[in-house]
């Protein structure tokens, strides 16, 4: 019984998601990530159930745990009522707690994700905030989004939205009191601390690499090594 495994077992997702795995592979068979990455969720479950700390540590430091798209399709098929997706979520949390996430390319992306998503939540009350979703960073959103972005207030008005306005409705301005409550929740549930740690780790890395924050963000936003793929 290893220490990392014990820490993992404290996570409710692991307790819920891990029964004895029989390595049947039904999860991998339909996993979108297994389809397009060098990735096998079954192996991850198997490693975790072996409780070998060395292997778990290797996992926490690897890119492997970051390939999952958390679609949770794996849950449906498992004959043993395991949930590979939940186990991976627990592994990711532990990787962040232990700082091992900084050892992998995909793990380092946490910096940017934490920054952007939580900025939206704490400032606007939304995970995705239309006004912050820029065509320049999302060419795939299409030329139509370029048009929406240009006329965003008009378009929201036209479509029954309530962009940044008082009262209920789509993309309304959420009262500051409610946003304060969210911040408080963040503070007491450890989210604030976690975000701080991720931020500091990222900034430290940027400094090591001799990059400005912006350059570092650009780097982790775009880099993609071929080793992630089969073939």
């Amino acid at each position: 019984m290893g220490k990392l495994y014990d820490r993992l077992m404290k996570d409710y997702r692991l307790r819920e998601g891990l029964n004895a795995c029989i390595n049947c592979g039904t999860c991998t068979a339909i996993c979108p990530a297994a389809e397009f990455y060098r990735y096998d969720p079954r192996r991850i479950v198997d490693i975790v159930q072996h409780q070998d700390d060395a292997q778990i540590e290797e996992l926490l430091k690897s890119d492997t745990i970051w390939y999952c798209g958390e679609c949770l399709s794996c849950v449906t098929r498992c004959p043993r009522k395991n949930a590979a997706g939940l186990i991976i979520m627990a592994l990711r949390s532990l990787s962040i707690q232990t700082g091992f996430f900084m050892e992998s390319e995909k793990g380092r992306q946490m910096y940017l994700l934490c920054k952007d998503l939580n900025h939206n939540i704490l400032n606007y009350g939304y995970c995705i905030y239309a006004r912050a979703f820029k065509y320049d960073a999302h060419l795939e959103a299409g030329v139509v989004w370029q048009w929406v972005e240009k006329n965003i207030d008009e378009v929201f008005d036209r479509l029954g939205g309530n962009l940044d306005k008082e009262g209920p409705g789509a993309m309304r301005k959420i009262p500051q009191k409610d946003l304060d409550e969210l911040k408080k929740i963040y503070d007491i549930t450890g989210a604030t601390e976690m975000l701080e740690n991720v931020k500091n780790a990222g900034l430290k890395k940027a400094e090591e690499l001799g990059l400005t924050e912006e350059e570092y963000c650009q780097k982790i936003y775009t880099e993609c090594s071929p080793k992630h793929f089969n073939h």
Partner: protein, 337 residues
């Protein structure tokens, strides 16, 4: 006076036990709910591991029950224990007072449609092991000749979600046997077996496996995850080849599901009336797991065959014979002093 013995279930266990008991001089009454005697054996074509025709075995069994009173298409409407004997009312109106009862209610096939993702009853090409045996038995052929056929082991076995975490014991050997027979019928076809563990535990079973391998049957270690129908009406099957840690897909013309063994519903009906205890897996529990396998907790009520869990045919016959011995002993000890 001859003692009456009621045998419930006219499958291999019931037939063999009835034959032995009637040879011993008992008055055996056999109740079978179906039209035909023989249970699942009557629906099977050939038996593993040596492909003996099921009919040969069944004929042998039927030869032995000439002196047995057989009621087919007969349910046990009610049964209860009076003092020392059992009083059973059959659905044909006959009431029987029996000194001993042998419960040989066997098993039901797992309802393959419960594994929704395999699409049994939804996709045309998906069938079960029993369907396949019927095809073999009736000498039907698939037309056009299939280019690829798959066999899925452990359907409704080793599957908590399907309500049966246990192994059904016979499916591996059945799958391999059917795969070989299929390959013999369609030598050009690619035949795949999707397995998790190959449980080839019996004598000659491993030879069967080796024979299948040599015939070019491909064994893929991975449970089928999902089946879908393509635009040409073929079946797209997805699994993981766990030995190479990669997802795999293959297009098949037929997919045969190895439906496992579940406790018989009709058997449960009898069991409930007598308050017989069942274990977690739904099969009846014997008095103990070693020395009193054929005995129930109720004096005078005995078990044989798959009503106490998945069994192979030889296992079933051994149980039937030992149940007959136990009944004989029981009668002699309790009724002939």
């Amino acid at each position: 006076m001859k003692n009456n013995i009621l045998v419930i279930g006219g499958g291999p266990a019931g037939l063999e036990a009835s034959a032995v008991l009637s040879r011993m001089g008992y008055n055996v009454i056999l109740a079978e709910k179906e039209k035909r005697l023989g249970g699942h054996l009557a629906k099977w074509d050939r038996l593993f591991p040596d492909q003996t025709p099921a009919k040969e075995v069944l004929d042998g069994l039927l030869d032995g029950i000439k002196d047995v009173k057989c009621f087919t298409e007969t349910d046990v409407n009610s049964i209860n224990l009076l003092d020392r004997s059992f009083n059973a009312m059959l659905s044909n109106g006959i009431t029987i007072l029996a000194d001993a009862v042998l419960l040989a209610s066997g098993f039901d096939m797992f309802k393959a449609e419960k594994k929704e993702e395999y699409g049994y009853g939804i996709y045309d090409g998906v069938m079960t092991n029993a369907d396949m045996e019927q095809v073999f038995r009736e000498g039907k052929t698939f037309s056009p000749a299939p280019k690829a056929i798959g066999f899925v082991h452990c359907v409704g076995s080793r599957d908590e979600k399907a309500g049966n975490p246990a192994c059904s014991k016979v499916c591996c050997a059945t799958a391999v046997k059917q795969a070989i027979e299929t390959k013999e019928l369609y030598p050009e076809a690619n035949v795949y077996c999707f397995y998790m563990d190959l449980r080839m535990f019996g004598r000659h079973y491993e030879d069967l496996y080796l024979r299948a391998q040599k015939a070019g049957i491909r064994f893929i270690r991975g449970r089928v995850s999902e089946v879908a129908e393509t635009s040409e009406g073929r079946l797209l099957v997805k699994a993981e080849d766990t030995l190479s840690s990669r997802p795999v897909k293959v297009t098949l013309d037929r997919l045969v599901l190895m439906a496992g063994m579940r406790p018989s519903e009709a058997g449960h009906k009898v069991g409930r009336q007598l308050n017989l205890s069942v274990e977690e897996d739904g099969f009846f529990s014997s008095r103990d797991g070693f020395l009193s396998l054929q005995k129930s907790k109720l004096p005078g009520l005995f078990y044989a065959g798959a009503c106490t869990g998945p069994k192979t045919l030889p296992d079933t016959f051994h149980e039937a014979r030992s149940a007959a011995m136990e009944i004989d002993r029981y009668i002699k000890e309790n009724f002939r002093k």
